[in-house]
């Protein structure tokens, strides 16, 4: 039977974590994502599913608790918002280096620095290009609804264990704070078996000891490890690209937008169509792997591409790489915590059309 609820995006993350059979959550309060920790503390899942919830002394400690817990083979997650994500980057780099699965949620707010508590999408570079030190990638999912906040928790855990890699849900203050109807998935069992090839369970006689480490002092062995990581990221690019198209088939002008900007842009496309402009929306769902081949195809179909993102223009670089100069790509978006309005997107679209999209 369908279980429908009206929830905040942040609450949906928390509820979905319990339902996905998560073993532990470690977090630290920061606006606009504190409801994740608050919801979990109020639900007390340790009394139902046995899931551990712990408020850490810092984001640094929280991500390192995730590192330790992930090394045991358990399903673990953490969540934060932009300044807190900066603090977590060291730990995320270690987790990626040690090839441990976990789920990380960033409910992005405006920056730089302490910035603002209002929504933003200015953490795109940090999220999709690694974020911490070293050559590594996170698998990045960008929800555009409260429903996807819930669904991507389940999907995120599956992908994290499939690739033994951290998965990031890149949300923002709009999706985290808004309330929508969400259809919750059924409660899943917590895992009870652990891969003997890498999990820290205590070393039984019959196997070699397992070590969770990102250290390799010999540069040639470290290079080999890096090549293995890169092969994993290539496999993600081949298998995990996700996206959604809206009015794209006959589109002459394409808007590319993710997350809350995609919701806003969908309205802008409807407004444009009502005025006879053949606009379409392409929404990347995975930001890494980026749907570059799919966007490349539009290079020979459309007269112009508009990247709508609540930043000074970050994803636009990936779109430009994808279309390889076949069509001009423009950026539009309010930023620093200001949310873009659909009529602003439409105005920008019309301005570039009348200017020949140069």
């Amino acid at each position: 039977m369908k279980e429908l609820r009206l929830m905040k995006g942040n609450e949906a993350i928390a509820e979905a974590a319990i339902r996905a059979g998560a073993d532990a959550y470690f977090g630290y309060p920061i606006t606009p994502q504190s409801e994740v920790l608050e919801y979990l503390m109020a639900q007390r899942p340790e009394t139902t599913t046995g899931m551990i919830v712990l408020q850490a002394e810092s984001e640094v400690a929280a991500i390192n608790m995730v590192y330790g817990a992930a090394a045991t083979g358990k399903r673990v997650l953490t969540s934060s918002s932009s300044p807190g994500m900066s603090l977590k980057q060291e730990g995320i780099s270690y987790i990626a280096g040690a090839e441990l699965p976990c789920l990380i949620v960033n409910v992005v707010r405006g920056g730089p620095g302490l910035g603002t508590i209002q929504p933003s999408q200015a953490d795109y570079f940090q999220s999709t290009k690694g974020g911490g030190h070293g050559d590594y990638r996170l698998l990045v999912l960008a929800p555009a609804s409260v429903q996807e906040m819930s669904d991507f928790v389940k999907l995120g855990f599956e992908l994290a264990f499939k690739y033994r890699n951290p998965v990031l849900i890149l949300s923002d203050g709009v999706i985290g704070q808004m309330m929508e109807k969400v259809e919750l998935f059924e409660q899943q069992e917590r895992v009870s078996t652990y891969d003997p090839t890498w999990t820290l369970t205590g070393k039984p006689k019959e196997r070699e000891r397992n070590i969770a480490t990102s250290l390799e002092l010999d540069p040639y062995r470290q290079e080999k490890h890096n090549i293995k990581l890169q092969a994993k990221y290539t496999a993600m690019e081949e298998n995990e690209v996700r996206y959604e198209e809206f009015n794209c088939d006959d589109a002459e002008y394409l808007i590319v937008a993710y997350g809350s900007s995609a919701r806003i842009s969908q309205k802008a496309v409807q407004l444009a169509r009502a005025k006879g402009i053949k606009a379409g929306l392409f929404r990347p769902i995975t930001l890494f792997p980026f749907p570059k081949n799919e966007i490349n195809k539009f290079g020979s179909q459309v007269k112009g591409i508009l990247s709508v993102e609540m930043s000074a223009g970050q994803m636009i670089e990936d779109i430009q790489l994808a279309v390889a100069g076949k069509v001009n790509v423009k950026h539009f978006g309010r930023y620093g915590g200001v949310v873009t309005a659909p009529d602003e997107v439409l105005e920008t679209l019309e301005k570039h059309i009348s200017g020949g999209w140069k």
């Binding site: 002394e57 640094v60 390192n64 590192y67 330790g68 060291e90 205590g202 969770a212 250290l215």
Partner: protein
């Protein structure tokens, strides 16, 4: 008794615990780490808990401890071992979890993680190797470096006015209600090795009581970092380190030891 009798298995009086691997140790000759490693592994062997024990070794000379300890281990970022151990222990409350940290790790970059793991009363053992110097990076000043002590970043000696005082982390954590057993030992003489081994055993056994952190500081020598021979380093440690970091129990069974 001739040589052939002496080497018979029934005449064996001591051997390396099989829980120490045969990998060549990366520690300098004269360093305290080798002895500390051996004691911990001997206790784990004697308690029969190899399959239930998970260790955490963060950045420092002992970051490679997993090469020598034949147990499941996590290497941790600098200072973060108590947080990593918290994550492991919360997921495996029935298992034995310990951290093995140096002074730069535990008392400088990881102060917050140390204090808060102790304050939460995580049921883990923290082993604190205090040699008053950053060994791995080549002998820089540590938070525990004694006043006047020379290092590569205090070449004229640690000066209190500009560099502050050496920190007594063990005394600090003993004050927290989350610690159950706090002791300061050394491994520079056989009697101290025996006492330290006893402390490690108690610290691991305490994990079954669920009463909080057991914290074992081992005042150690770093002859390479101190630019001394191993013998000189042990004498210097006894004459300088131990008067400032006196040996003995600070807290037993959750009660501060009265001096």
């Amino acid at each position: 008794m001739n040589l052939n009798d002496i080497i018979k298995p029934e005449n064996l009086v001591y051997s390396k615990t099989p829980l120490l691997t045969d990998n060549v140790m990366s520690y300098c000759p004269g360093c305290s780490h080798g002895t500390a490693h051996r004691i911990i592994m001997e206790v784990i062997e004697e308690m029969g808990i190899q399959s239930e024990t998970i260790g955490v070794a963060p950045v420092g000379c002992s970051v490679l401890a997993y090469e020598f300890m034949d147990i499941d281990m996590a290497q941790a970022a600098h200072g973060r071992a108590p947080a990593v151990a918290t994550g492991i222990k919360r997921c495996w409350p029935e298992k034995y979890v310990f951290t093995y940290q140096g002074d730069g790790d535990l008392a400088a970059i990881g102060t917050a993680e140390t204090i808060h793991a102790c304050n939460r009363g995580e049921n883990i053992m923290i082993v604190f190797i205090n040699n008053g110097i950053y060994g791995m990076t080549g002998g820089q000043m540590a938070p525990t470096t004694l006043l006047g002590m020379k290092s590569s970043t205090s070449p004229f000696g640690r000066d209190v006015a500009s560099m502050g005082n050496p920190i007594k982390m063990t005394d600090l954590v003993a004050q927290l209600p989350g610690t159950y057993f706090v002791t300061r030992q050394s491994v520079h003489k056989p009697v101290n090795v025996r006492r330290t081994k006893k402390a490690i055993r108690m610290a691991l056994e305490n994990q079954k009581l669920n009463k909080g952190v057991s914290f074992v500081e081992i005042v150690s020598s770093c002859n390479s970092g101190w630019k001394m021979t191993p013998v000189e380093a042990n004498i210097w440690m006894e004459e300088n380190m131990i008067p400032f970091y006196p040996l003995g129990d600070l807290k037993v069974d959750g009660e501060l030891v009265k001096k």
